[in-house]
Symmetry: C3
Subunit: 666 residues, 3 copies
């Protein structure tokens, strides 16, 4: 089921910030760019509800009316991502208490305590009123609840709710003590009241970790759940009046705070905001798109925000080069986006995002580079219509991404401060990206069977069932790869006793005795069986193969020279690989040559900077050929076909212009 009848093209629109005479110009100019939708009402709570008793929809009515008249589709936000000043002042419980233990006053956005009874009441009430008033409109095509959810609160209300959440999960205080290993450092609790939130006044180590990772991780889960309840509060209020229109909220890629797999279950469609920095690897953006598509198991997503030109909050806010915005828009489509939307349609006149790019710049007319590029894209999208909506990615490789692992790996103390979960995932993703292999980002609780190859870097936190599922996957013929820092702990960060990698030992056929952390100035070497030599760094596992064969040993340098570092275990009809260190580029290439040679996965060797992606819809296959370089690149098209944007046949060796994009119907 496609949510939209064509590709939504538009973005965030806040006309309440300027006089109505400008609205007329907005309609004229946006129409020139073939923009067909607007996201409105994202931060208007204070305007919609000037005090506790009063609701005033007059301005929003006018905006909706105008957009409707001009045939715009509307993504209607609920405005609850920023508290009204009067509410902050009158009901201080709506404000957050931060990691430092400081109760905040009015300010910023994304600022509501998720467990504030006042906030929960008022936010659901507003969402209900919006649902009632606008839910019946045909051009309200999507609800957008709040905005970029995240953050933490450590107030007394949160502490109380945390205790309720814990009681529900653990039932007894003894079970809680065991889960968090509270006997360590004599932290044994005898009452639920003894539970203290993990901030700087409690168990904090530094600005995020605590001495008890089990506590930190559970609090992170609790916060994710609490904020999700804010989302479902509003969702339920809307659905009462409008049960049909899809509901979303804009996510943020590999954002750490929220367990997006859990969230996605409550969302009708996933949407996200793509804000790479000038030096973000293109493969990392690709990975984030794939993750967003993976959240609902391959279902298309909305690109809710991107900048048409530059951002304002990066250290260095470079302009997107000519063609680059279009290139990045199509990259989103290639990975599963059914919409292309911008923050923002017109630049704000003041406040902290005034230097953030917009379709209509401060000059206020259509005679700008940015507008011209937007209009070109609009014309192309109009032509594409619904062609690509709801197409799917035929990936045969899955990479596990798991928020509990994200938190677990980064909240633990030792063995090295260099370990970053997203970096480790991307380290493997980029090897597949370089070979132009389609990849799904998969939940650890997802369906593995459809993949020929399943990769799980740093699968640090894993329970018995998850391990059994992986074992079954391998037994049934799957190829599975994992790495150092895997199989170590259970869901509350207690070590699986009996030898690393815990419940994965049998599947992998190895025992890891120790892991050595190398300081950043040190590397050592890996020698593959064929003699290939690669540097490795950061962590070096000391491995004893049981049933596994050895694919590579450490080279000279450390005391574990000539001991195994990469192993492969045949189990049932499948294979389980273990990589006991962080390989440099040579090693990664060599490893993937090995991994892929026995699998029916097609590799496309294209020049660096060229991306090739595939989507399939009703037996029609579409290929995307993207030049991410700001220079011409000569490339041989892997699959000939009809190019959709130019409506011409495409095959053989061609020159792609800088940032060029081809969409080929096979």
């Amino acid at each position: 089921m496609a949510f939209f009848k064509n590709m939504l093209f538009g973005g965030d629109y806040n006309p309440e910030q300027w006089p109505e005479e400008i609205w007329v110009e907005d309609m004229r100019i946006l129409n020139l760019a073939k923009i067909n939708s607007a996201t409105i009402n994202v931060f208007s709570w204070a305007q919609l509800q000037p005090d506790e008793e009063t609701y005033d929809f007059s301005t929003l009515d006018k905006i909706v009316e105008m957009l409707t008249k001009h045939k715009y589709q509307i993504v209607l936000a609920t405005s609850t991502a920023a508290l009204p000043a009067w509410m902050s002042r009158r009901y201080p419980d709506v404000n957050r208490t931060d990691f430092e233990g400081r109760a905040h006053k009015f300010g910023q956005r994304h600022n509501a305590c998720p467990n504030s009874p006042t906030f929960r009441k008022f936010s659901a009430k507003l969402a209900g009123k919006l649902g009632e008033r606008y839910g019946h409109l045909e051009n309200v095509v999507c609800w957008h609840i709040s905005n970029e959810y995240g953050g933490n609160c450590y107030c007394e209300n949160c502490a109380k709710e945390f205790r309720v959440w814990l009681k529900k999960k653990y039932h007894t205080i003894e079970a809680l003590n065991k889960a968090w290993n509270m006997a360590f450092w004599g932290h044994t609790l005898y009452s639920w009241e003894d539970v203290v939130v993990p901030n700087a006044l409690g168990d904090a180590i530094g600005t995020e970790k605590t001495a008890f990772a089990g506590l930190s991780i559970d609090y992170r889960r609790f916060m994710s759940d609490s904020i999700l309840r804010n989302f479902t509060d509003e969702k339920a209020a809307i659905k009462q009046h409008d049960p049909k229109t899809a509901i979303t909220t804009n996510l943020m890629g590999t954002f750490k705070d929220l367990d997006y797999f859990k969230w996605a279950k409550e969302m009708d469609i996933v949407s996200w905001d793509n804000y790479p920095s000038y030096d973000t690897p293109i493969s990392l953006t690709a990975m984030r798109h794939d993750l967003m598509r993976g959240l609902k198991d391959g279902q298309s997503f909305m690109l809710m925000e991107q900048t048409p030109s530059q951002q304002n909050w990066q250290p260095y806010n470079s302009l997107k080069r000519p063609g680059q915005m279009k290139n990045m828009s199509y990259q989103a489509v290639a990975h599963g986006a059914d919409t292309i939307q911008f923050f923002q349609l017109r630049r704000s006149v003041g406040a902290c995002e005034k230097f953030h790019g917009a379709v209509i710049e401060h000059v206020g007319n259509e005679h700008t580079r940015v507008f011209r590029e937007t209009a070109e894209l609009g014309q192309e999208l109009e032509k594409l219509g619904d062609t690509l909506l709801d197409a799917v990615t035929p990936a045969k490789v899955g990479i596990i991404f798991d928020w509990s692992n994200y938190w677990g790996l980064e909240y633990t103390s030792g063995p090295t401060i260099e370990l970053q979960y997203v970096d480790q995932i991307h380290h493997y993703y980029q090897e597949l990206f370089a070979r132009n292999i389609d990849v799904d980002m998969v939940s650890i609780n997802g369906d593995f069977e459809k993949y020929d190859l399943l990769i799980a870097p740093c699968l640090y936190m894993i329970n018995q069932e998850q391990a059994q599922k992986i074992d079954a996957y391998v037994n049934n013929g799957g190829h599975f790869v994992t790495t150092m820092m895997s199989g170590l702990v259970d869901e509350t960060d207690n070590v699986h006793l009996g030898g690393y990698p815990g419940p994965l030992k049998e599947t992998l056929g190895i025992w890891v005795e120790e892991f050595d952390a190398l300081p950043p100035e040190k590397t050592t070497q890996v020698v593959f069986n064929d003699g290939t030599v690669s540097d490795c760094r950061m962590l070096c596992d000391i491995i004893h193969p049981n049933t596994a064969e050895v694919l590579a040993n450490y080279g000279k340098g450390e005391f574990y020279a000539d001991t195994p570092v990469i192993t492969r275990n045949q189990k049932g009809s499948g294979m389980a690989y273990y990589v006991g260190t962080m390989l440099s580029e040579t090693g990664m290439k060599r490893l993937f040559d090995e991994l892929l040679k026995a699998l029916p996965i097609e590799t496309f060797d294209l020049p660096e900077g060229i991306e090739w992606k595939t989507r399939v819809k009703e037996n029609q296959t579409y290929h995307f050929l993207l030049n991410h370089k700001n220079e011409p690149v000569t490339v041989t098209v892997p699959t000939a076909g009809k190019e959709l944007l130019t409506e011409t046949a495409l095959s053989g060796t061609i020159e792609l212009a800088p940032f060029d994009v081809k969409i080929i119907a096979e």
Copy 2:
């Protein structure tokens, strides 16, 4: 009108810290150095007022008496820069609340909440008592209120006064919402009570900025005004008893917190503390002197503090090299100082400044290098007498320095974190310094007509009247230069719509469509019409000339290659230049060659490290020739004349000793 009858030579003197037997030695030793003045009573509040009811001037009486007897002139401070401990304890409202929201207790200095009713009452009362007791003394030649004013308070009293200040400025809450663009992020206020101070508990981003720059800038203005009211409170109390003696407070050069142009209107004479670090460019010190002179439109100032040898609070507190203190003292005079004063006359025995240099070192006698150099200077100054007092700088070039721009540029979000206001001003100043051209630092509300050339780097924040004044200046024949990040916003940081650089567009004859931020590792190039090539960095404006001619285009590298970067617009009988990037040295030299070639401004090409400055008094011209290098330099004297220190004729090519100084009466 000269304030002093000869050049004051002395400094901070705190005999209350040591026994009276040492006072006798002080008098003897200081007299050897020809020291003729002392600044006293800077931090003695606790001593003068041991409790709420009691005032005890007995020690101060003794000090004044002794200094009078020994014929010292006195700069009498009011002691209110550090709260007495009893007051902090008994009246907590006198203590500040910091950016983190923490209410402070007793400690440090410069610690009074400017809006504390208790502080205002007691500080004015003390100043009045001092005025009454000592104001009639002939040798009290200057009042020194408080010390190095600055800092912030975020307490409830400040919040209340801020609301009063805002009501006075904006009259309605609607006007306030518009000024700060509060519709953004739904921050609309419905009551003055909704205004929250911009600290970490409110709208903070990082440690200084907030999400609403308009709020931050207004709070900065409010703080500057509040603290200025502390100054005028005391000033009024003194003037009641002593209406004639000049009143000052010691400023701090390019210090960010206070709008010194506004302050200077309330000060009879400007004074400041010059504390360069070991690696501060000599041109930056020169610029700060010129700024201090500019505060009262060219009027001479007091050098209130400098160290005779070393500081204590820098990371690395190098000694001033032999001759360097004298060199730096004369540099102050060359730029407009009518006094040479030190912090401090005798080193403190303990507390955090005990390792700060003094005329009398811890050894306690006159047999030190530092003392000898001080005494040499004292003899020279005695000889100079009143010769240079009240002389003026005949500058034909003005550079605009504006605190609203300082705050605006540094409180905004984007386009690059590298932008620092003082750096940008100095980037232009140093080109003039290198050519030995006299420069005035001018208020944006100052008089431009006297300058042939007016330079305003990063004139980010500007209103219509200011823009009109600049336009008139150009029309009347002035040459005006401005740069990227100019003409962008109004006084509360709202963008001038209709295209950059806003109200300066017509004057400059250009439209700036976009600005690209380069990360620090990247540069691009500028090619002047004559082929000169220069690197440029940080920001690159994309410029459309309307009526302007193009002086330079971007070189190869970025997509805006071959588009204009430096332009010149003839308007009326003047010229308006725009520089759309940050040029490296080659480009700056080439630009200034261009700027100066048509103007009657004399350039002096002297060896690097040599400074040449001019002051004029009653038709007599004095030139200062300063060797800032710690090595001999051969130089041809630009203007022959009588050298005042040696009383010999000077002309032709001479060798200057390390740190040598010549003062030439033309």
Copy 3:
């Protein structure tokens, strides 16, 4: 008197964290390694006292019983280093208030306010109960009070106790004002109530210093004393029931917070935890051992903790290389350890130290490298028995280490932020270490007469009596060396007036007029009388010799070129050296050649990485030959004899294996 009948070999053991079936395995495995002792009950307060009224020793009884049955010696801790949760909640006065002024809740360890009446009552009560219950057991061989004492509290109770402490020390508020030089910045106090704790809400500069170093240093002393009173509270309670067993607490080498010389007077035996980082110089570890031995004037100490393999809280937690743990254990013995103990015997299953090494790894058996190495060591120690217990180090060189100097030097403002006390001490220590000369670390109040050479780098803070003692030492024939930043201030950081280095001027025969701080990018040179040239950096004193002769002058570069930098003063029958800068390696070598050539101190020139140390027991001399390198090294044994571990004769030139250790009975 030896405290133990053989060398204790064991470590921290926390079986309460796991089920009793594992205890059986523990006994079996530990016995294999010849482990003969266990430190227990370190963090079990919450378990021992589940609420205010109830004490429950059942688990501890079982642990003690089991260990006794298996013939383990017990180091019995008192568990008071971590507060029970219920106590933190019910009696908030037990929690600390931090430097930021924030009152903490339950969390972390080492978290009790030392001046909390509640904590003092409950901790002493628990210690008494433990003493009563277990003090009579023969295999309880040592009491271990609390754990790694340190930290600060700034609560109201501490403020009150601080005022009491000050009254006792200074008697009058006038004396206090003088001691802290409170007249500076008008801080004069008129009431004890005016004293404010030196944290961020008071007089703080940065995160540790304050504007009044006298206040900071006294607060540091007060905290050290307050925490020491916690120790003596518990000690007294134990001694009531068990007056004979030795009592200790585990110190931390050069840890800054506590005056360990003062503490050691209250401890029966010193113990400490040795946790070098992967890049800690081996000489620094050696120095820390010597310091621990010096605390009780040469008495043997306990190595209470070290990791058998890796740590978890370092940035990069490298494994100890094969042989390295044994090598480091013997290094401890070579410097005076009578025990070898580990943290920990079995790895914790969860919480922040789960990745810290242990004798029994998570795999839970004896088949690990770490266990094998431990067992090897255990066998050797069993063989050594009591041979080395209580041996002493025959050092002829003493280095003064003094906590008041540590605090004074690092709390002062200026002349350079590079000054770190431990670095300066180690700078001199390492020269002696490189020559394999035995060194004692000595209290400034210690006995100097036994040393031929006494070195006191940066003896910044010194009183008249201390200076006189040094002078007497020199007069009596001692050789004394001190450096820049010496003799400057008295005990409360007030400068000794009359010229630097204050009360050491006569002894050294010099006057230091000024000190120049060089920024890190700058060095200058020292030229010895024989022409040897060395770089120097950081600080350069400008020195006038009175009676001293000049050993080296500054080389070219700065204005003090050709003036003295190293001097020697003959006084009585001794010599006093002054080194006015920080010498680089060449200069240090040259200096020590000079220092040593006239003294009867034997130097052993061995290859780099080889250490040679001596201990003497009842006229028997033992030498330790340690290869700290992870590679074989050929060395000529300085003294032939019987090697104790191999029981073979050793002499001549031998090859030491990587990390090899030889113990030679002469």
